[in-house]
């Protein structure tokens, strides 16, 4: 079985990832943020990069195996949770807002995926 759902959720996650990485780069190099040169910003930037790559796969590889699909869905969710917590402790509302955006994208992706599965099942039943 393969996935063929809408990619709008994935693109939202990609947008959120880019925002997170941009904010981290800004924070890392700007004294006024209080986060200049800190490992925490690198950590969140790397997490953002991983989320970006995962979301690109979701957006650009339509015929994914079920195993890969589940792995990506779980990984992205963990990334969002972890980065949100990190954003909280970095006292960065922008990172937290971007992660909220990513969560919306993740939900759109999951809901869209579930809807696609439902359509597939209907199609199979119709063929029966």
């Amino acid at each position: 079985m393969t996935s063929r759902h809408s990619t709008r959720g994935a693109w939202l996650i990609i947008l959120a990832s880019l925002i997170v990485m941009a904010i981290c780069v800004y924070d890392y190099y700007t004294p006024e943020t209080g986060l200049i040169g800190t490992g925490g910003t690198i950590l969140v930037a790397v997490a953002g990069l991983l989320m970006l790559l995962a979301a690109l796969v979701v957006a650009k590889v339509p015929n994914r195996s079920c195993l890969l699909q589940n792995f990506l869905v779980v990984s992205i969710l963990l990334d969002i949770i972890g980065s949100s917590v990190a954003g909280y402790f970095l006292e960065s509302p922008v990172i937290m807002a971007a992660e909220a955006l990513a969560l919306i994208g993740w939900l759109m992706n999951v809901i869209g995926d579930a809807a696609d599965r439902s359509v597939e099942i209907d199609e199979v039943e119709d063929e029966d």
Binding site: V44, V46, L78, D79, I81, G82, S83, A86, F89
Partner: protein, 643 residues
């Protein structure tokens, strides 16, 4: 709190996933028309009484939330590595100018409202970490002639010390060296060392000023040798640099057994009585006193001397036979108290041991009783710890008798490392003597109260002070073992110091787990307010935030602090000091944070508060200190209300 602790663990998951108040008139006459004479900041402690108090009222608890950065400058004097800088200067505002010294021995004179440079003087003399104090500075001193000679230079002078023992005097208007001061503006203070010269004295702290006399102490290395430079304090002619008098806490006959007991922190002066108050440090070597058992009443003490002659008026020893390096480490704060219908000329000497010592500054007698309390004996051969120590039960001490319990979080994530370590070492609370197996030092050498001391509102007797809650582990190492482990090194890794010439070397360890987390339960730093007239504790709150890898820990944990608060008449406390590189305004009545702002590095000194052309400024040096975090800077930053 538990939620935050859980959330902390989730962070790990994310990683896996990816003033002039009370000053003598001659200072006031030195002001120009743009100054509000009552609102200058012409000494390290705001005034020579170290009150850290400003009569400014423009910034209030109601409008402080609108405070904005007015200007900032970067001096360029910052470096890490072997020449790491430590900048704890408090800027001065006097003579229509802001003056600040840098850790590389330069003086910047800038416009008070713009930060625009007026002049720079380079004294130099910074040195490496291995040489005495490294590159450090706590600012400059200012002196003005009471009867200035018209048209002559150097009627107002700025003084800066160097790490190579030189005191430079320059004209406050031009920054040019004063030819009549020492040799072409330089006095070689180090050359005055009369015995056991082991290193050049480090002139970190600017001198105190009384009339035409500078009172100057210095910093040294009292953990490297058994016998080293005796900690002489100098009275110096402010115009000529000539030596007027000396004070030595170490008796002459003991100078072949010990050294230092120097005055490395600020000195305060009572302009009415002409008494200077010297906070003296511990003798060398810091952590083993078996070779210096004779009583020396002026060491680890507050000593009142005549500012013009150096003659001792009284002395109050606050730690007997110091083997913990708990120097008396801040300028006593002078204030008149009102108690039982009487006015008492008092001083407050909050100390590293976290005790609130309040003395009559004319007699040295306690305003609040000091009792002799029994403490544990040493188990080290040759050492005889004092069986009692001075203790002040009221006002309530800033730290309790015993260190906090082991942190459950730090212990769990280190698989029990903290609790196992604690079980191995000796811990009998305050004044547990150093031992070969290791002893908890509580509070540790960072205090209690650090070198900034507290601030007082002299009109109400309200006193505010920041304090640390930090234990460390002190271990003595028998000489033979030390030789095997460290050879002939004088200092080494893991806090090793040789204490050369004594029976034991020494190791100072931070009580941190394998991840660098404190092994003891928070809070790590507090801010407290007392009513000195009654001795009552008004409020006490965790202060600042720990920041690690950029992550801010919960506010309830507080932060280790270096630096001090200042108080304004409008009911505000301004303070930097914390690890998180934030400066804050706090409500004097409640202790609540009303405003905070990020600066480039921890502001490890008290700010200066002044009013210029009708506008109130609060100026911080954000220089950082490697003890707190690796984040260092060269920023001088001023805040004011928008127009």
């Amino acid at each position: 709190m538990k939620i935050k602790a859980l959330a902390l663990i989730l962070v790990g998951a994310a990683a896996t996933a990816g003033a002039l108040f009370l000053l003598p008139a001659n200072h006031a006459t030195a002001q120009g028309p743009d100054n509000d004479a009552a609102q200058v900041w012409d000494a390290f402690g705001g005034n020579q009484q170290a009150q850290k108090y400003s009569t400014a009222t423009q910034i209030t608890p109601e409008n402080v939330g609108n405070l904005k950065k007015a200007w900032d400058i970067h001096t360029g004097d910052v470096s890490s590595g072997p020449h790491e800088t430590t900048w704890g200067a408090t800027p001065l505002f006097v003579n229509n100018t802001v003056y600040v010294g840098t850790p590389k021995g330069r003086v910047f004179a800038v416009e008070p409202d713009t930060g625009k440079q007026k002049w720079i003087y380079a004294a130099g003399g910074a040195n490496g970490k291995g040489e005495n104090q490294g590159s450090k500075n706590r600012g400059v001193a200012y002196w003005a002639a009471s009867a200035p000679a018209a048209g002559q230079p150097c009627q107002k002078m700025i003084y800066i010390g160097t790490q190579t023992g030189e005191l430079h005097g320059v004209d406050a208007d031009t920054g040019k060296p004063c030819a009549g001061f020492g040799k072409n503006g330089v006095v070689d203070v180090d050359a005055w060392t009369t015995a056991n010269h082991k290193w050049k004295v480090g002139l970190i702290q600017p001198p105190a000023v009384y009339k035409d006399t500078l009172i100057l102490g210095w910093a040294g290395l009292d953990w490297v040798y058994k016998v080293e430079n005796p900690g002489t304090v100098y009275g110096i002619d402010a115009r000529t640099g000539a030596l007027k008098w000396t004070f030595n806490a170490i008796p002459q006959e003991e100078q072949n057994q010990t050294g230092t007991a120097n005055v490395w922190a600020g000195i305060s002066v009572d302009p009415e009585t002409g008494l200077a108050f010297l906070p003296t440090s511990s003798p060398s070597p810091n952590y083993y006193g078996g070779d210096r058992l004779k009583e020396m009443p002026y060491v680890t003490a507050t000593v009142a001397v005549n500012a013009e002659t150096g003659e001792v008026k009284w002395a109050r020893q606050l730690v007997h036979h110091d083997i913990w390096d708990v120097d008396i480490n801040s300028a006593p704060t002078l204030v008149d108290l009102h108690k039982n219908g009487q006015t008492i000329p008092a001083l407050v000497q909050a100390n590293k041991m976290g005790l609130m010592v309040v003395l009559n500054r004319n007699t040295g007698e306690p305003v609040y009783p000091i009792v002799e309390k029994a403490y544990p004996a040493s188990d080290v051969k040759g050492e005889v710890a004092s069986r009692t120590q001075p203790f002040v039960p009221y006002p309530e001490p800033l730290v309790p008798e015993m260190m906090p319990p082991v942190s459950t979080l730090a212990d769990v994530v280190s698989f029990g490392q903290c609790s196992r370590w604690k079980a191995r070492i000796r811990d009998e609370g305050r004044y547990t003597p150093p031992s070969i197996r290791g002893s908890i030092s509580w509070p540790a050498t960072v205090g209690g109260v650090e070198w900034g001391g507290g601030a007082v509102d002299p009109t109400t007797g309200t006193y505010v002070v920041n304090s640390d809650m930090v234990p460390q582990i002190y271990s003595l190492i028998p000489r033979d073992e030390a030789k095997k482990m460290y050879g002939d090194a004088q200092r080494g890794e893991n806090g090793y110091s040789a204490q050369e010439g004594s029976a034991y070397a020494f190791r100072l360890e931070n009580f941190l787990n394998m991840w660098g987390m404190p092994c003891w339960a928070p809070p790590y730093g507090l801010l407290s307010s007392y009513d000195l007239n009654t001795g009552k504790l008004l409020w006490r709150k965790p202060f600042g935030q720990v920041q690690k890898w950029g992550f801010y820990m919960p506010e309830s944990w507080g932060s280790v602090t270096i630096g001090a608060p200042v108080i304004t008449k409008s009911g505000l406390v301004f303070i930097g000091a914390s690890m998180d590189s934030r400066v804050r305004a706090i409500d004097l009545k409640t202790g609540n944070v009303l405003w905070k702002h990020i600066v480039d590095a921890p502001a490890v000194a008290q700010p200066a508060v002044y009013t210029y052309k009708g506008k109130q400024y609060v100026v911080f040096v954000a220089g950082g200190n490697g003890i707190l975090t690796p984040r260092l800077s060269d920023q001088l930053v001023a805040f004011a209300l928008p127009n």
